[in-house]
């Protein structure tokens, strides 16, 4: 089973729009949205929900106020300023359980926290797995890992390609999303920030030994910067898959909640996708 993860380093480069187009081209692909903090791909794919599972990503202490003597041991032990003499600050708590282990009165129990939901559905382009992290919840890395696990299982059973829309950044959710990928397809844009973040993404994929290929979105916004990025890829020995022009029609399609399928932009995206597939 092959797996392509679409990443951008910086957000807003058009990663999800592109993944939406790839979805329409990637016949027999299983699709997954690993951006669990701000999942957007479902807006384009409009899936019919078939299955839903609660996600318990972490634990939090619950204090039995009858047993608590307000001794303050928990407050001393907690490194995250998350408990004050038996009163838990849920936003600060990292669920480490140190207060639970340390409470002399055994007044604390650790309870699972409902931190989000995972969904599976069908779209005209193939099965789709996505998730939503609850408001102000932690454990996004774990939820990303679960999304990939469920999507991989389907891809394996049905012997299909897996296409994953990844989260922004280079931190814990991204690390969870690249692990085990056959190819990371980076979508960048011709800006100073786009180039900078591409560099960081490259260090990350090298660190984890996953091959990286790059495409440049909205390339016509700044041809000079576009040249610099292509040059950077050449110097670093990274496969450059092509330039996609900027066009307002992309936003128009988005307003109608549909992937772009016609015009020069769509054609450029199709070409990028063909090249990406040839690398697998």
């Amino acid at each position: 089973m092959k797996e392509i993860v679409v990443l951008s380093g910086k957000g807003g480069t058009g990663k999800t729009t592109l993944t939406g187009v790839f979805a329409t081209l990637g016949q027999r692909a299983v699709l997954a949205d690993a951006d669990v903090d701000a999942s957007n791909l479902h807006i384009l794919l409009n899936p019919v929900k078939e299955y839903e599972e609660p996600f318990y990503g972490s634990q939090q202490p619950v204090v039995d106020q009858n047993k608590c003597t307000r001794c303050g041991v928990c407050t001393q032990l907690c490194r995250f300023d998350a408990i004050d003499h038996g009163e838990v600050d849920e936003l600060n708590c990292e669920g480490c359980g140190v207060c639970f282990h340390g409470c002399p009165e055994k007044a604390i129990t650790m309870e699972p926290v409902l931190s989000g939901h995972l969904y599976r559905g069908s779209t005209p382009y193939g099965p789709f797995v996505w998730a939503e992290l609850g408001i102000a919840q932690e454990a996004s890395g774990k939820l990303v890992a679960r999304v990939k696990e469920v999507a991989r299982e389907i891809a394996r059973q049905e012997d299909r390609l897996l296409v994953v829309d990844g989260p922004p950044g280079i931190g814990c959710p991204v690390i969870a999303s690249v692990s085990g990928a056959s190819l990371v397809l980076a979508v960048t844009e011709p800006t100073a920030a786009g180039k900078h973040d591409l560099g960081r993404l490259l260090s990350l994929t090298r660190h984890f030994g996953v091959p990286l290929a790059v495409c440049l979105n909205k390339a016509t916004l700044d041809e000079e910067m576009a040249d610099k990025i292509e040059e950077f890829c050449r110097e670093e020995g990274v496969k450059f898959l092509g330039r996609i022009p900027f066009a307002r029609e992309v936003v128009k399609a988005l307003i109608h909640r549909q992937p772009v399928t016609e015009g020069p932009v769509a054609e450029a995206m199709q070409e990028v996708w063909r090249r990406a597939l040839s690398l697998l």
Partner: protein, 278 residues
Amino acid sequence: MIVAVASGKGGVGKTTVAVNLALAAEEEVILLDSDVEEPNAHLLLRPEIEKETPVPLLVPVFHRERCTGCGKCIEVCAYHALALIGRELLIFDKMCHACGGCIYFCPEKALTEGERVIGILQEGRAGKVRFVQGRMSVGEALAVPVIKKLREKQGAHTIIDCPPGTSCPVIQAVKGADFCLVVTEPTPFGQHDLRLLIEMLRVLKVPAGVIINRADLGDEEVEEYCRQEGIPVLLKIPFDLEIARSFAAGVPFVARLPRWRQAFSDLWQRLKRKGVRA
């Protein structure tokens, strides 16, 4: 006044707003770039970096000679960052959240506190803007401790450029701010992520106002949502090739376009007067 600049979705112009606001404010402000995974504000602000300090995490150090192999540390670690093979303890650095549990509860004091650097703070200045950014080392997973350290640098007038999204790093960046400027774009993606962020800000009890970027490249739904929710729309920035090119070239657009300098300076005034209700 502490103003956080956030967005539910990346790439909508959050950093551009933060930097332009810092440049347009009349007094000395501190700009904190808390997007420690991808700090970008320096590309626009171009500060002179004067000082770097490492951000350490307090992690366990193992002393084999004292270990009895009792397994208490394994039982305590909620993150599966430890494995015991005979009397050899393996510590998986990247999984350790530095909770200190194994150190506190090892009965033999075979674990002691050590430091592991997971990122740096870089401080400097560009004109009258004091600038501090956090930068997480590549391959590290924990942004929150770097942001926590960064927040210690805030002062009387601080603008915080937040990471995108609504997860733990964002909470750490926004918590305790007096106001949050939420930057969005008028598309279904923008609206979806705006809603998530507004819900998060309600949990954190931070008042919010919205800036719509590329305001003419979309539909009316974001504004409609703001009206319904009683959230003020403070500024609309149209899609403008001149603005887009300034950004691409790494130049803040208030530096090129005086009317935008005025708009941002007015916004700063309104924020200070707390004149921002819907």
